[in-house]
Subunit: 213 residues, 2 copies
Amino acid sequence: MPKRYSPDKKDINTEEKIKIAARSVFHKKGFVATRTRDIALEAGINLALLNYYFRSKEKLFDIIMAETLHTFVASLISVLNDESTSLQHKVEAFTKAYIEMLIREPEIPIFIMSEMHHHPDKLLARLNAKALLFESAFAKQYVQEFEKKNIAAMPMLQFLMNILGLTVFPFVASPLLKKIGNLSGNEFNALMKERIKRIPEWISLIMNPDAHP
Amino acid sequence: MPKRYSPDKKDINTEEKIKIAARSVFHKKGFVATRTRDIALEAGINLALLNYYFRSKEKLFDIIMAETLHTFVASLISVLNDESTSLQHKVEAFTKAYIEMLIREPEIPIFIMSEMHHHPDKLLARLNAKALLFESAFAKQYVQEFEKKNIAAMPMLQFLMNILGLTVFPFVASPLLKKIGNLSGNEFNALMKERIKRIPEWISLIMNPDAHP
DNA sequence: GTCTATATTTAGATAGAC
DNA sequence: GTCTATCTAAATATAGAC
């Protein structure tokens, strides 16, 4: 991997240009459907440079995927581990952060889910997902909340399915939903912004069915 | 396309063998990642026979996709258009039918969603999805219900996102969820069966926040 | 209808000039 | 570092024997 010092002005160097193009094309088409020629074209560089900088299509993909996964879980982690906020606030913060991120990068969920189905081991090997959820500040609050109320807790995994299903799924199914509702991209996004307010209310109703007279 | 009369015993003819294998491989790997050789091998037939019967990989794929889409919406349609059942019952019937279907064929959602993102026009061209939802018996009941209660209805699209997100999303994210929860396939399915009971309750809470003291 | 052998196309990767 | 030209390895599809 060549070093670059580039104390240059504003211009982006070649390696970065390739990564930006690769991210865009991989996210849109996935690993197998992406051709290195597509990336080179999008980056405005010569095909041979891709291998010069990244050795192979797969190594380039691994880098992009690692960064994308980080984007996908980073905001989740910071929300889950903030000791200073309430459970309800965490749900609100998560929903807002996630939907805003997904409006900016709507292809990320289908990209990750799709690649995850085709190479689960490769993608999940590093992820200590169990610790991520079950050892977070969120987890402690979650069990405390239910102990306090002395009711049977919804298993945390069911909770996770609910909040991810409500926030992430519309982006996975967006082509279908746009067709059904005859929606433009902007109209779809407006519906999703509406959900930023609604989802925490719905989650609250689901988890505390007795507390809302 | 060759005709076959096959008043044969129990044995399956070659065309059907190819379709069964193609469905399995396409569902698992998607269109681009599937090689015709994989299908031939899985079907136990010669590679050339695939082209003999179906002309091309793409034509075979189109047939499989049409059938898969039919599976995916058929149970939905019959539920939505049953004039004799209540709104609540429709939600219960839908949830049960869908989750049971998805336990049998868990790759269908990621398969459809993934292909839909990559060729939205091709897949959605025929589907009169708008009529499917907005002209159903379900739609009439939906607006009536809210008029009766004299409250602002949740837009039907938001309702659709909710029920699909709660039922379908876990199957899209199953590799991630299994990893996080350290679940086997059977344990995952058990959680989903639990959701058959829970989701209609949650939907009811969300849609009628005042009716549950 | 089914097979073997092969033609054609495409995409990832590299050699070597500049 | 960047380019042109090319090598090599797949994978779809077909020709033609049986």
